[in-house]
Symmetry: C2
DNA sequence: GTTTGTGAAGTTATTCACAGCG
DNA sequence: CGCTGTGAATAACTTCACAAAC
């Protein structure tokens, strides 16, 4: 590209500002590309990607064009290269230490999951209050008592705090994480949290997913409704910061 | 509930068609209202709801107006009543049997979670292939061997199938679920699935959440970017069906 | 006075449709 | 030819702003 497009000063910095809707789809393309690369597919056209992501092909092309123009007309996109560009854009080259509080089934599943232990993410510390868990190891990391939270995270400050506790403990854990300087929270507890507007807060609520499903199942046969719902995106979560 | 409210006979069907963006926020309001009701709050104004949901107040009012007009000018919304209306709209009065395949940490956490065992949802059967798990009970339900899937679900056909297996097993499980008539899948395995367009497919990918977070953390200090990202919605997942 | 509900205005996202490159 | 990249057209969503209702 190097679209001569303005922004000149000292040569062509990209005019980028990636739309939110696109940002949300990038991880989806990323995952698809990862599978393609692993499966040995070297190039992919926008309409194939679109089919796999279950979106429209021009949307794919538009989305990717915000990153630059990496496609080859006539053949498509180089999977490896495109993946590396998406990774870069998503900040995957960074180091993102993650602290997990709550090591019940869910916390354990998270701490063990690929997503938390690859591509820049790294579980750095684990906490619980349950005496029978404290001292145990998960993936080679010891579970600390929550009482030691401040001390432990001082050594290796997490960027992301994961709350996988029961609802009753969640707000307290959030407060302590924020006080310790954690910039973003991922909350799995079924509890609405109150945090400062500067904190990036995302909820993952498994029941919310179910309810969106039940909504579509309930309505799929209503007259005139049938073909028109294309339940986009996915769902879940409250959101950080309003601009105003 | 048992609101005498209309739905009169056969006059005046509302002109309703709830925008997708609204549908995605309804479960968020729902959860907030549930906490308010439990905490004994009887009424709530749109700007309070908005603050808790971290969205704009007119968005809240507009969203709620698609359900009908249940607010009282001057004081706000009756929490209980509003909650019941959202529940109704989300199809919560239905019966949604859920089959879970894969009872590792994640599957267990799901089967035990409130979201899967309340408000219309009901875990109806559990499956795994691991001999040491088959025959165990989780919340009073026996874990069946996946080999018996077709037989077991014939008795109590699930509306929703949850895939919490390793990636390698996910497509096979999906195929069997679809063949057995399951209308919607919730996939937690890190695998892109191929399913017919009529199947409602949602992905929950914990690493996608992390990556959206890392995107915002990476970009929050770029010049001109700081205040403007209001990372809406939430994100995750591929999507079912395109209309075209 | 307070807060809803909603047209109208403004913004953002999607889709079309085609020129341009390989 | 095939497929990308992108302006222009369309559609969806958000926000404003205020009249009406309590």
């Amino acid at each position: 590209m190097a679209v001569g497009t303005i922004r000149l000063t000292m040569a062509a910095a990209k005019p980028r500002r990636i739309p939110e809707a696109t940002v949300i789809r990038l991880p989806v393309y990323q995952r698809i590309l990862l599978e393609l690369v692993r499966g040995g597919t070297a190039t992919v056209a926008s309409d194939q990607l679109a089919e796999m992501a279950r979106v429209n092909a021009s949307k794919v092309r538009k989305d990717l064009s915000f990153l630059g123009s990496f496609g080859t007309r006539g053949s498509g996109y180089d999977t490896k290269y495109l993946l590396s560009q998406i990774d870069r854009e998503l900040g995957i080259d960074g180091d993102w230490p993650v602290a997990v509080v709550g090591l019940g089934n869910l916390g354990r599943a998270l701490a063990n999951s690929q997503g938390f232990t690859s591509r820049g993410f790294r579980v750095c510390s684990l906490f619980d209050v349950e005496p029978s868990l404290v001292g145990d190891q998960v993936r080679g990391l010891m579970i600390h008592h929550l009482d030691d939270f401040e001390t432990v995270v001082a050594d290796d400050p997490p960027s992301i705090g994961v709350i996988a506790t029961p609802a009753g403990a969640a707000q307290d854990v959030a407060d302590r994480m924020i006080a310790a300087g954690v910039a973003s929270l991922l909350n799995f507890a079924p509890k609405v949290l109150t945090v400062p507007a500067t904190v990036l807060l995302r909820y993952v609520d498994l029941s919310i997913e179910l309810q969106v499903i039940s909504f579509y199942l309930s309505h799929r046969d209503e007259p005139g409704t049938t073909e028109e719902w294309s339940p986009l995106s996915l769902a879940v979560g409250l959101t950080p910061t309003e601009p105003g």
